[in-house]
Structures are given as structure tokens and as C-alpha cells.
């Protein structure tokens, strides 16, 4: 059984990646909203926002990357939901395969699709004047945080993917996640916010993740922020994984 886990996951990953290459619109729709926000904030609101030294697009990009991931994983839930609906999930589960490979293939597909979307958004940001003097190590750290955050949200997306009753339900859970960066340090420094909002903003995961990425890209010392960010990512990942496994077992028992 487990001997086939890697092989079966690879075969199923090939299948869902083909879905993405054949309908690249999922990448386009994933990146359109973050890019629109980026244009809006840099060219419309940006002039009025005091984010400190440096260009606003540099300040903004980490938050935009978080929004990109949040909007990307709604497709993960959708793809899984479609597999449940069409009956192909049951067909796979009734075959002599390593059963978890069906989920792992979706998770890895989500990772690949999100990395492509993130790359597109970074390229657009470069066109808009984003510049960073960060070295290879800092970029690798940024990539690591983004991958961890994608995996955490992907396992979260598996839950509605497996248990949603409708297509809207499968993807709607992503909306609060997309708007979480707005109440964080992603667009404006938190010290301009009134008391309770500021408290929420400073203690929610997006702020520490955004700050860690921002400091890495602007070559500032990351301090304890990066550890808080990592604890958030790993914590969300573990909790989401447990609940995803719980809903998975409910579907196959």
C-alpha cells in the first residue's frame, strides 16, 4: 500500500497539473485580484499613505503575496470539490492505490499553482518599480515562509473541498482570508489604527508574516518577528491538517 504512495501521488499530480495547463485561466483569475489591489493601492491610495521611507510598492508587496495565496487556495477547494461531485474521487478510492495520494496530489498541485501565481505577481511588481537588494539567502527564507503559508492554507482548503455542499460553499471560505491582510500591517502601519483594531491587527498571523517578509526583502534585521511568523504558519498547518484528516475520514468511513 504505502509503497505506492509516491508513485500514485505522482500520477495524480500529473493529472491535476494538466488541468491547470489546460485551463490557465485559474492562474489568471488567481492573480487578477492581487494585481488589481496592487495597482489601486500604489497608484490611487498610495500617495496618501505614509509607510515610512522607501517606495510604497516595496512596502505593499508582502501583503499582496499573502492575498495571492488566499485567493489561490480557493481553487484548491474547488478542484477537490469537483472531484467529489463528479464521482472520480470515489472511483480512485475504490482502486488499489495508496488512498492518501488523492489528497496529497491536490495539495502539491495547490503548491505548484500558487508558486506560479506568486511569480506572476512578483514580475508585475517589478514592472511597477519593486526593487529589493535582498541576497539569495533572504529570498530563500521568503520562499520558505510563503511555501509554509501556502501549505497551511491549502490544508485548510481541503476541509471545505471535502465537506462543502455546493460550489459556492467550497470557495467562499477564502474571502475572509483574502481580507485579513487589510486589518494588518500589509497596507498601512498598524500604529495609525484605533486601539481595538490595532490590537487585533498586531496579534493576527498576517502582520507577523508580512513584517518578516518585508524585513527580509528590505534587508533589515528580522528579529523575533520571523519566529512568530513561523510559529503561526506551523500552528495553522498542524490544526488545519488535523481537521482535514478528520473530514477525510468522515468521507471514507
Amino acid at each position: 500500500m504505502t509503497t505506492h504512495l509516491v508513485g500514485d501521488t505522482a500520477v495524480l499530480l500529473g493529472r491535476s497539473l494538466r488541468h491547470i495547463t489546460r485551463s490557465p485561466d485559474t492562474i489568471i483569475t488567481t492573480t487578477i485580484m492581487p494585481i488589481a489591489f496592487m495597482l489601486l493601492f500604489v497608484y490611487v491610495f498610495g500617495g496618501a499613505i505614509k509607510s515610512g521611507a522607501g517606495s510604497y510598492v516595496n512596502y505593499l508587496l508582502p501583503g499582496i503575496l499573502i492575498i495571492t495565496i488566499a485567493s489561490g487556495i480557493s481553487y484548491t477547494a474547488l478542484r477537490l470539490f469537483m472531484d467529489m461531485q463528479s464521482g472520480i474521487f470515489e472511483r480512485f478510492q475504490s482502486m488499489p492505490i495508496a488512498r492518501p495520494s488523492v489528497l496529497w496530489a491536490h495539495v502539491l498541485t495547490s503548491l505548484v499553482a500558487n508558486l506560479v501565481s506568486l511569480l506572476v505577481v512578483v514580475l508585475v511588481a517589478l514592472l511597477m518599480g519593486f526593487r529589493s537588494g535582498a541576497g539569495l539567502l533572504a529570498w530563500l527564507a521568503v520562499a520558505g515562509i510563503l511555501i509554509l503559508f501556502t501549505l497551511a492554507l491549502t490544508w485548510m482548503a481541503v476541509i471545505p473541498g471535502l465537506s462543502a455542499k455546493s460550489m459556492d460553499g467550497a470557495s467562499a471560505f477564502a474571502y475572509p482570508l483574502i481580507f485579513l491582510p487589510f486589518i494588518s500591517s500589509a497596507f498601512v502601519p498598524t500604529d495609525t489604527m484605533p486601539g481595538p483594531v490595532r490590537a487585533f491587527a498586531e496579534y493576527q498571523p498576517v502582520t507577523s508574516i508580512v513584517n518578516a517578509i518585508r524585513h527580509l526583502l528590505t534587508q533589515q534585521p528580522v528579529g523575533s518577528e520571523i519566529w512568530i511568523a513561523l510559529v503561526w504558519c506551523v500552528g495553522i498547518l498542524i490544526v488545519a491538517y488535523i481537521f482535514a484528516m478528520f473530514s477525510y475520514r468522515r468521507r471514507i468511513s
Binding site: 500500500m1 505506492h4 508513485g7 500514485d8 500520477v11 495524480l12 493529472r15 494538466r18 488541468h19 489546460r22 485551463s23 463528479s86 464521482g87 472520480i88 470515489e90 472511483r91 480512485f92 478510492q93 475504490s94 482502486m95 488499489p96 492505490i97 471514507i252 468511513s253
Partner: protein
């Protein structure tokens, strides 16, 4: 192969399943001998799909035992999955892949060597070779169902579950599916097919089990089921009861529910 009568394809004993407070299966007993076709006949909501899901290891029964191809569903699920194929109620094909890619995918997941030739062979057999390179989303309902069944044949499973295989098909496509099912049984495959079409059960099945509100209320060959009715009255024309008459009489529709003797089940092989 070994001890004919005791080498059955599918055996279910006293299967029970509830979803919440709703009792879906109430002590279901079934048997399909190796190489035979068993039709599970019943209206929507009778519990047919639940039976299929338990036997194909997608659901666990609350009580009772079942074995498929000699393996117990509770303890040997992996062995069962290696010996069965499931064709669900809706053609479970990948719409974005081509017909050929669907077949290759299943062959790979069954860990077969040379998935390519296997796929081409089935495409020819199911008259899909011209559409092989087209995405399945462009296929007609009949083509999808043919592809679906072709996918189920990969790896030559000993037992095949077909859950309402002809639902939504036009008469022509229906006859094609019937032909395929007959050929399968001729080659020794055990087939459990669920249907709500009486003529389908009459056409295909060696034995018919009628599932009504979670219970098997009749079980036997077509002739045995016909004998359940009181002898036909001879008036002007002697009319043999069709399976439809049998069905309606034993589930107690149209005021014919009087004779309590009608409500017994037959075919509990001694």
C-alpha cells in the same frame, strides 16, 4: 475453480447501515455466484448505492458481514480494491483529460505495465478510437458511459459494480451497455448491477434482488419471482406476469398488497 458453490463472487449477510437516525439498510442479504449477473432492483432511495458503496469498501457497514471475491470487506479492503471495479451512478470520468488520457491514468493507478496499448485496445473495443484525442467534455452521454465502463475493465477485475449504468442513456446506448455487461459475465466476471429499470433486470440478470426501503423483499431468478404471484387467472387471454407486475405486487402498490403470502422472499439457497 475450487468447490463451485462455495466460491461466490459476492456475499452479504445482514448488512445494516444508518445515516444519523435514518435506517438505510436493514439486514440486507445478497449473493452473486462467480461469473453471474445480480441485479439489485429498487426505486430511488431504496439503498442500492449504499449497498454498492459498502461492497466496494467506500463505506463501512454498521452491522453484518460481506465478502467480495472471497475477501472480507471489514478486514481485507485492500485485497477487495485490487479485485473490483466500481462504475458509479454518474460517469466518473475526467472531463478535462482526453478519453485516452483517462484510460492511461487508470492503468497507471492500477500499476500496470504498458498503459498505452491497454488504452488503445479499449478505445477500439468501445468504438472511441476516433474520439481518443478529444477532451471528454466534448463527449456525448453515451460516449462518456462507454469510456466509464472501459475504465472499469482495466486490469481485468473479477468483480464489477455497476451503479445504474444506463441512467440517462438513449435506447441505443443502453443496448450497447447491456451487450458489454453480458460479454463480461460470459468471460467469468461477476457483475452486480443496480437499476430502477425493470426491463434491464429482466434482460440481463441471472438473479434479481428487490430492495425496498432498505430491505431485500424478494430474491431469486426471474422464474422464481414470477412464481411469487398467485397463478394467473385464465379469462379470455392468459397473460404471463411481467417483471413489472411482480415488482409492483410485492412492494405492495395498487391495492394488491392484500396477500401476506406475497411478502416472502425466495432463493435462500439451502
Amino acid at each position: 475453480m475450487t468447490g463451485q458453490a462455495s466460491a461466490p463472487g459476492i456475499v452479504a449477510r445482514d448488512l445494516c447501515k444508518s445515516f444519523g437516525n435514518h435506517l438505510v439498510l436493514d439486514k440486507v442479504n445478497l449473493q452473486a455466484v462467480e461469473g453471474s449477473i445480480l441485479a439489485l432492483l429498487g426505486p430511488n432511495g431504496a439503498g442500492k448505492t449504499t449497498v454498492v458503496k459498502i461492497l466496494s469498501t467506500l463505506l463501512k457497514a454498521d452491522a453484518g458481514t460481506a465478502s467480495v471475491n472471497g475477501f472480507d470487506v471489514a478486514t481485507k479492503a485492500a485485497d477487495i480494491r485490487a479485485s473490483i471495479s466500481l462504475t458509479g451512478q454518474f460517469a466518473a470520468v475526467d472531463e478535462i483529460l482526453t478519453g485516452r488520457e483517462n484510460l492511461v491514468l487508470v492503468a497507471r493507478l492500477r500499476h500496470l505495465k504498458d498503459p498505452g496499448p491497454i488504452a488503445d485496445d479499449l478505445l477500439t473495443r468501445f468504438s472511441l478510437i476516433d474520439a481518443a484525442a478529444r477532451r471528454v467534455s466534448t463527449y456525448s452521454g453515451g460516449m462518456r458511459r462507454r469510456l466509464d465502463i472501459a475504465m472499469s475493465l482495466i486490469g481485468n477485475p473479477q468483480v464489477i459494480f455497476l451503479d445504474e449504468p444506463t441512467a440517462g442513456l438513449d435506447p441505443q446506448a443502453r443496448i450497447e451497455v447491456w451487450q458489454t455487461v453480458k460479454e463480461l459475465a460470459e468471460h467469468g466476471t461477476t457483475v452486480l448491477l443496480t437499476t430502477q429499470y425493470l426491463d434491464e433486470a429482466e434482460q440481463l440478470a441471472d438473479r434479481i434482488a428487490i430492495l425496498h426501503e432498505g430491505r431485500i423483499i424478494a430474491n431469486g431468478t426471474l422464474d422464481e419471482l414470477k412464481r411469487l404471484l398467485p397463478p394467473a387467472k385464465v379469462e379470455y387471454v392468459e397473460k404471463q406476469p411481467t417483471l413489472e407486475d411482480v415488482f409492483l405486487a410485492i412492494i405492495g402498490v395498487q391495492g394488491k398488497d392484500g396477500g401476506a403470502g406475497n411478502r416472502r422472499s425466495v432463493g435462500t439457497d439451502d
